[in-house]
Symmetry: C3
Subunit: 209 residues, 3 copies
């Protein structure tokens, strides 16, 4: 029990930091000052989990455990200054975002599973936790949200969360189910970026009206 | 009693489906894949009601009754594939949005009336439930929100919700009040689109500073 | 006790009105009709406090006290018609926004202090209450959020809220701490606009990837 929870906790912190970094990178063209940058990093890192907790009527995770705020602040300040001296490739934004997506998807699913909710709600919660922070980040910096580009995105979170449920229904432990779900979510998203995989897109037969 | 509630329930499902369709149509230029499309449809369909329930401190309607999630998913998948083979006129987006606006406005008002809130809060809740999903949809797909165009929009929801309260104060049954409110909201919005009606717009005397 | 609360209440109403005005001004180029304008003014004025109350799991302030809704409505209608006959300089938007930022920052801090939360949460709550309404306003009207421009913005709220905590830790009364915090927040923001002060911006060493 303790083992899962501490594992989960590290995963959560990993997700928080990578999303904070992705927020900072996404915002870097806007020439924010340090505190503006912290605000974007914060919103990206805590947005998904905050909406999840509001909707599940749970205490907001970072109000209950303020260490998240300190971690995001320190990590953001570090990268802010680091990036003034060393090169941080802008494409690491995509990598960080994919790690964060995978981590937050399984954490969201885990939290909804503990509340014993319907499968559809568990999957909704998982996808929401995974994608919302990044959507807010992209809307705030005025970019087309990653979720809208035609490579697999929400799909990866959906498949990951579904596999996690499936694994548990087939008697797999929750740790293994989470591990597989995370690997698959990240893997699908990363392959999609790398090899430009995509699902059929929505192309109505005619637009000329 | 049962009659109202089942009537309400169908109305709610109608609003949910038309808003989901409007989300899918609005997003169609973005070339989303199927799951991206479902996400937009979902957010459009449940956004207003979710914010309403958060603010009124009620259990979120789709967490309590997951059938909404299944309905939106099935409806979206259906339209996604239907639209690949048959022509769906883009202007039906405006029609669907007007139906959804009317349905969700009266449902929002109804929910606030049951909680015995102040008239101003009932009207706020009604307008919010009606407009928020569409605003999120338009912001996400990067369009100017419909609510910002100069044809009557929030006004229709406001007038509808006010008439519903007025009707009930004058002794009309809640069913008739809702029916009239919905008809007027839809009618005002539709006339505004069709004949380009509008209210006086905000034109400050000078902009040259 | 009564004295603080009534002072706070007036401050809250001041913040509400100036943010409502800033919303109306920001939206003025969109040629909204009256109700569209009221919606933007409303969202700008209540957005920060609503998110604060949701996150702190408190009853939403304007549901508990509907007078806010009436005040915003009347103030917006007044300015809407006033601006058709008299000149309202667009740059007063920046001034109103700075007053609102200062007022809502200290009110947010005050509310979190009463709940006896961790310092980091108090500061988060204060900054959030101060900036969120304006961010929503700017996103809705399609402008680059003020918080993203390089002049000090979130920083002013952060410094103000920190000074308020510091003042109280050093034995200052809550009234004086709030007064100083508000003055400093407004002062920093206003100086930044006036003399174009700014903090070091985020400039990664290279973008050519």
């Amino acid at each position: 029990m303790v083992e899962i929870f501490s594992g989960l906790h590290y995963l959560d912190i990993l997700g928080t930091i990578v999303f904070a970094f992705s927020g900072l990178l996404a915002a870097s063209r806007k020439q924010l000052d340090l505190f503006g940058a912290i605000v974007i990093a914060m919103v990206t890192a805590i947005g998904g989990g905050t909406l999840r907790d509001l909707i599940l009527d749970q205490p907001i995770f970072w109000v209950k455990d303020p260490s998240y705020i300190y971690i995001i602040t320190v990590a953001t300040i570090f990268l802010f200054y680091y990036a003034r001296f060393y090169h941080v490739p802008m494409k690491s934004l995509l990598f960080l975002d994919a790690v964060g997506l995978a981590a937050f998807t399984v954490i969201g699913a885990h939290k909804a599973i503990l509340l014993d909710l319907d499968d559809a709600i568990i999957i909704m919660t998982a996808v929401m936790t995974g994608v919302v922070g990044g959507v807010i980040r992209d809307v705030l910096v005025g970019e087309v949200p990653l979720i809208f580009r035609k490579e697999i995105y929400a799909t990866a979170a959906f498949v990951g969360a579904s596999l996690m449920l499936l694994g548990m229904n087939f008697g797999l432990s929750i740790e293994w189910s989470m591990f597989i779900a995370m690997l698959v979510t990240f893997g699908m998203r990363w392959m999609a970026i790398k090899y430009n995989f995509s699902l059929p897109v929505f192309k109505p037969v005619s637009h000329q009206d």
